[in-house]
Amino acid sequence: MVPLPLYLAFGALLFIIGVVGVLTRRNAIIVLMSIELMLNAVNLTFISFSHYLQDLRGQVFTLFIIAVAASEAAVGLALVISLHRGKATFNLDEVNLLKW
């Protein structure tokens, strides 16, 4: 069977790709997509551990992470829509009204 470290390495790589996306892109929607990538990587890690330890609680935790990720995506996109309405921009570098 496929050894556990391969699954964990795949999850780690997905997580890092998500981190690079969050840190470097200017477009707010792509930042939200990268956050979803990171959450998926964490889900994959949970499920692979659940498989190798034969413990079902990892999968239950993943179910809750999926629920929270969906609600956070909804609120984040609503914020992006209202941001676009106020300033007509998605560029996160220009959203600096609170900057001192």
């Binding site: 069977m1 496929v2 050894p3 556990l4 470290p5 391969l6 699954y7 964990l8 795949f10 999850g11 780690a12 997905l14 997580f15 890092i16 790709i17 998500g18 981190v19 690079v20 840190l23 470097t24 892109r25 200017r26 477009n27 929607i29 792509i30 939200l32 997509m33 990268s34 979803e36 990538l37 998926n40 994959l44 499920i47 659940s50 498989h51 034969q54 079902l56 999968q59 239950v60 179910l63 809750f64 999926i66 629920a67 929270v68 990720a69 969906a70 609600s71 995506a73 909804a74 609120v75 996109l77 609503a78 914020l79 829509i81 209202s82 676009h84 309405r85 998605f90 560029n91 570098d93």
Partner: protein, 188 residues
């Protein structure tokens, strides 16, 4: 088994890299959909059948539709021509690369001895019955709290995306069409 794992892993990593590097947001959204499908297929390899179905239904079905509607509702024809990488790209890639290297070393060197028990691949693990039994007995409280979180997120999203009075004044009845200027007739 190895073939399917590497197939989904390589396609998943390729589409994840495409998500963060595309200039067109719609292309990035479609590549994210492909990534979700690859991760869902990986769940099936890991005997998590209910979670694979939930992943496809919720992530590919609901979250991606939400993203696509949000992209389509706001008209962004001019964003494609703007710069897409912010000022800290180089430092971020270096730091993320180092963190990734550390994570991969930590995960691959630590769990080498963890083996699946014999015959575990033939027994079902993540069936709906088993997860349902856990979810409604041991995890009842988090289950109810998750439904409250979803309710709060729904109310919050509707409230945040509503039309405000400011917008009504800007695009309401105040918008007047300019008067057509009469052209002077030459040689009348």
């Amino acid at each position: 088994m190895y073939f399917f794992f590497f197939l989904f892993a390589i396609v998943g990593l390729f589409s994840a890299i495409m998500v963060i590097t595309r200039k067109n947001v719609m292309h990035a959204a479609l590549f994210l959909l492909l990534t979700f499908a690859c991760v869902g297929a990986m769940y099936v390899l890991l005997r998590a059948e209910l979670l694979a179905a939930v992943q496809v239904l919720v992530y590919a079905g609901a979250v991606m539709v939400l993203f696509l509607f949000a992209i389509l509702l706001v008209n962004i024809p001019r964003v494609v021509r703007l710069r897409q990488w912010n000022r800290q790209s180089a430092v971020a890639v270096v730091i993320a690369g180092l963190t990734g290297l550390w994570m991969i070393i930590a995960t691959t060197q630590t769990f080498r001895k963890l083996e699946l028990p014999a015959g575990a691949m033939d027994q079902p693990l993540g069936t709906p019955r088993a997860i349902g039994q856990l979810l409604f007995t041991d995890f009842m409280l988090p289950f109810e709290i998750a439904s409250l979180i979803l309710l709060a997120a729904m109310v919050g999203a509707i409230f945040l995306a509503r039309e405000t009075a400011l917008e009504e004044e800007r695009t309401g009845t105040d918008a007047t069409t300019p008067e057509p200027v009469g052209r002077p007739q030459s040689g009348r």
